[in-house]
């Protein structure tokens, strides 16, 4: 059973060399048309993601991983090709979207829950659950600005993972906070896996990818250059990085 089917997806961004955002700039530059850099983020991607799979997506910076996630989520429209999704989906591309330092922990989580689309009736209970998971019950009515960065991340993570949809798209979101909390996150992911959730994870943390993913997709220059078992694909990716980049850059990734 396929959860996400990607067929022949192309996405090209036109990046203006100098962007004219005001009308005056446009008028002044009318005889000097804006020149564009064409950047082909996705160059014909075909991909099937099976239901219940935990798929890791790896590749160098700018290889199109995040663009693929956004196209899957429906945030970006592909220039050509189709994406079919079976089941409910949540896209967690950033933790704590819409968090505001001036609101309390509960107010923030409630707003985030609404953004994530929790059913309204279940929301209050799930909000409490998220705060409990983040171990921030003591700060429920404190303003977010009084919390540490790590605590905010924990809160965002806990709320996001409460979304409980069939498919989850994660961009560099796996384990946050201190070692103890990270351990809890790891348990949570094992639990999601057991419950048959489909998860697509974009990550540069090869160790996490090896640990969690049932299969791995390697991306390069907007194309899928390999699909298979984690160990083999990580090797493939490292070869790819070694081929074209100096080793120093590989360390950055």
């Amino acid at each position: 059973m396929v959860a996400i089917e990607v067929r022949g997806v192309h996405k090209t961004f036109r990046i203006p060399h100098e962007r004219h955002t005001t009308l005056t700039e446009r008028v002044l530059n009318v005889f000097r048309p804006t020149s564009y850099e064409r950047f082909e983020a996705l160059a014909g991607v075909d991909l099937d993601i099976e239901r219940g799979a935990f798929v890791g997506v790896i590749g160098r910076n700018g290889s199109g991983k995040s663009t693929l996630l956004k196209v899957m989520a429906g945030l970006l429209l592909p220039d050509a090709g189709t994406v079919q999704v079976e089941g409910s989906m949540s896209e967690l591309l950033e933790l704590g979207l819409g968090f505001s330092p001036e609101l309390t922990v509960r107010e923030n989580v409630t707003l985030y829950a609404a953004i994530l689309g929790y059913p309204r009736r279940e929301a209050p209970a799930r909000v409490e659950q998220a705060i409990r998971f983040a171990e921030l019950e003591r700060f429920t009515d404190a303003k977010l600005k009084n919390l540490s960065t790590g605590m905010c991340m924990r809160l965002g993570f806990a709320t996001a993972l409460q979304a409980d949809t069939d498919i989850m798209l994660l961009d560099e979101i796996l384990a946050v906070g201190d070692a103890e909390f990270q351990h809890k996150c790891v348990d949570m992911f094992h639990d999601l896996k057991r419950r048959g959730k489909t998860i697509v994870l974009v990550s540069h943390d090869l160790e996490q990818v090896r640990q969690f993913c049932s299969s791995v997709v390697v991306f390069d220059r907007g194309r899928v250059v390999g699909v298979g078992a984690p160990a083999a694909m990580i090797t493939r990716y490292l070869e790819l990085v070694g081929e074209t980049d100096p080793p120093a850059d590989a360390a950055v990734i």
Binding site: R7, G8, V9, H10, K11, T12, F13, R14, T21, T22, L23, T24, R38, E40, A43, G44, D46, L47, V71, M72, A73, G74, L75, L76, L77, P78, D79, A80, G81, T82, V83, Q84, V85, E86, G87, S88, M89, S90, E91, L93, E94, L97, G98, S100, E102, L103, E107, T110, L111, A114, I115, L116, G117, P119, R120, A123, T165, R223, V224, V227
Partner: protein, 279 residues
């Protein structure tokens, strides 16, 4: 992996298709009303943090301007308008909702760009919530208005029922303009400055401080062409003077506002798909 041969056609919507099982998605979200409300409440709360008087400012501000206008136009300039306090306050309150709502709403897509570029939400949600936030202030102001009506000895009469329709017109007009401007504003920031000027000019061209009857007959068409002017004029008739409005005039006002709302909605629908790429 098979490579597709079709070429990228940047900027065109044709060809590309994302079908994330819309029905599934909507089963996850049964209506966005709750989200609209949450956004609006957040706006409203944040606006008054760090102020001692808090929500009171949403009353104090219009009241201070009301007193100022009253002194200048009624005491200094001797406008001979019956029931001028209620007349003036109603005009100011209606105008404030229109100007605040449209100004905030126009910037809403950009203000919430961080969320819109990371989550799949109907983009109009942020526009609705900006207007709802302005509506909260508006409702508080209406309560003050009722108090003033009561204090100045002009209680509501049956024609006041027409005010409900005029409120619908006001909401439709404000929503229509906001839906029209907000996606354009994302691409051209000029719209923000331009609309600011239109609002300032509109404040003087619209009969808010004065009566439409003070406008020479040959210029009165300007008032009738102005949808917010029509709404304010009719509202005064039914609320302040307790008179029934002209049926034809009211119909034109309603069709006018709804027409603008429909145009705004169509433009928004056309432009919203690629808004994210300009945020």
């Amino acid at each position: 992996m098979t490579s597709s041969s079709s070429l990228a056609s940047e900027g065109a919507t044709a060809g590309g298709r994302v079908t994330p099982a819309r029905s599934m998605r909507s089963s996850r979200r049964r209506g966005y009303g709750w989200l609209v409300l949450q956004f609006a409440l957040k706006d409203f709360k944040i606006r008054y943090t760090h102020s001692v008087l808090g929500y009171l400012w949403s009353v104090i501000n219009p009241v201070i301007f009301f007193v100022l206008y009253y002194v200048v136009f009624s005491v200094f300039m001797r406008f001979e308008i019956p029931k001028y306090p209620a007349f003036l306050l109603l005009g100011v309150v209606l105008w404030n909702f229109f100007s605040e709502g449209s100004a905030h709403g126009t910037g809403a897509l950009l203000a919430r760009g961080d969320i819109l570029s990371k989550m799949v939400l109907p983009r109009e949600v942020v526009v609705y919530s900006a207007l709802l936030s302005a509506a909260l202030t508006f409702v508080i102001n209406l309560v003050v208005l009722l108090a003033v009506l009561w204090l100045t000895g002009s209680p509501l009469k049956p024609p006041a029922i027409c005010f409900l329709l005029l409120l619908v017109d006001l909401a439709a007009l404000t929503l229509g303009i906001t839906l029209l401007l907000s996606p354009i504003y994302v691409r051209f920031r000029d719209i923000g400055y331009l609309w600011g000027i239109v609002l300032q000019a509109g404040f003087w061209i619209t009969p808010i401080l004065y009566s439409e009857l003070m406008v020479p007959a040959k210029w009165r068409w300007i008032v009738w062409c102005n949808p917010i002017g029509r709404i304010i004029t009719d509202s005064r008739r039914v609320i302040v003077y307790g008179l029934w409005p002209g049926g034809r005039g009211l119909l034109i006002t309603t069709l006018y506002s709804l027409g603008i709302c429909v145009v705004g909605a169509l433009v928004f629908r056309k432009l919203q798909g690629r808004v994210v790429e300009y945020l």
